[in-house]
């Protein structure tokens, strides 16, 4: 079960149609749609990747494999943008 930690340099602003993330270290920003914003809020609550996938399957009209692919892709993007990092817990 993979957990991720939001890096201290990351700021976020939730909006009605998504969210904007900002990394104060890299000076880069990242926009999220509504689903991405939900994933970010789950990361803020220390949800694991598996827990995020299960939540999306419950809350959205999506099958687990599709949810897993989308979550995995976004987490990879957020890691690449240095907004989150994997943790051992």
């Amino acid at each position: 079960m993979t957990h991720y930690r939001i890096v201290p340099d990351a700021l976020s602003a939730s909006l009605s149609d998504g969210a904007v993330l900002l990394n104060l270290y890299t000076k880069r920003y990242f926009s999220l749609n509504d689903t991405g914003s939900r994933i970010w809020s789950l990361l803020e609550h220390q949800a694991s990747e598996e827990e995020i996938i299960e939540t999306l399957v419950r809350e959205y009209d999506v099958e687990k494999p599709e949810a897993a692919r989308a979550v995995n892709q976004l987490l990879d993007d957020l890691v690449a943008e240095r907004l989150i990092e994997p943790t051992s817990v």
Partner: protein, 192 residues
């Protein structure tokens, strides 16, 4: 500007003008997108100016207030074809300036509650389109250099920008020189 941050007032690279209903409209966008020119066009219509290249935002009880950032309003002398009064100021042109700008007169104001945000971009047609909050916030982040300071105020700065785009209508305006004479009507058509 750093002192302002400590007072929860945040500078943003945008022009600000006050519409007849007393609300401030922010015109933002990359350098050269027409902020000063369109600001002057509105100033000629009697709209008070808060700034043509920067304003200061502050969260208030009734939304986000825009404070003026008073610097001389300057426009290119090449606009004299649209604004004939500029030709009388030709002797004042800064020819060292690559845009050949000249100081112009405008009525400045101190502050106003926000009415809307328009992201400007030059184009080959005039199209005003609604802008979703996330896209508007991303643009304002791009125009807020001081947001990137790693101090205790960065979070508040981002939060004020978020409150702004969530509380007022936001648009993109792809524009041609036609807006030099129609920008007032463009804004009035969408102002509350």
């Amino acid at each position: 500007m750093l002192k302002l941050r400590e007072q929860a007032r945040f500078y943003v690279h945008a022009a600000g003008v006050i519409a007849p209903d007393g609300r401030a409209w922010l015109l933002t966008g990359e350098s050269g997108c027409g902020k000063s020119t369109l600001t002057y066009s509105l100033a000629r219509c009697g709209w008070p100016v808060l700034g043509d290249d920067g304003v200061v935002l502050e969260r208030g009880l009734e939304g986000v207030t825009v404070h003026g950032w008073r610097e001389p309003l300057r426009v290119s002398i090449e606009l004299a074809a649209w604004f004939p009064e500029l030709s009388r100021r030709e002797s004042l042109v800064d020819w060292q300036d690559d845009r050949h700008r000249v100081d112009v007169n405008a009525a400045f104001a101190q502050r106003a509650r926000t009415g809307g945000v328009i992201v400007l971009g030059r184009g080959d047609r005039d199209v005003l389109s609604p802008l979703a909050p996330t896209a508007a916030l991303a643009m304002l982040v791009r125009q807020s250099t001081f947001l990137l300071l790693t101090d205790d105020h960065a979070s508040s700065h981002l939060s004020v920008l978020r409150d702004l785009v969530e509380s007022v209508p936001c648009f993109t305006l792809e524009h041609t020189s036609a807006q030099l004479s129609t920008i007032r009507d463009t804004i009035l058509a969408v102002a509350g």
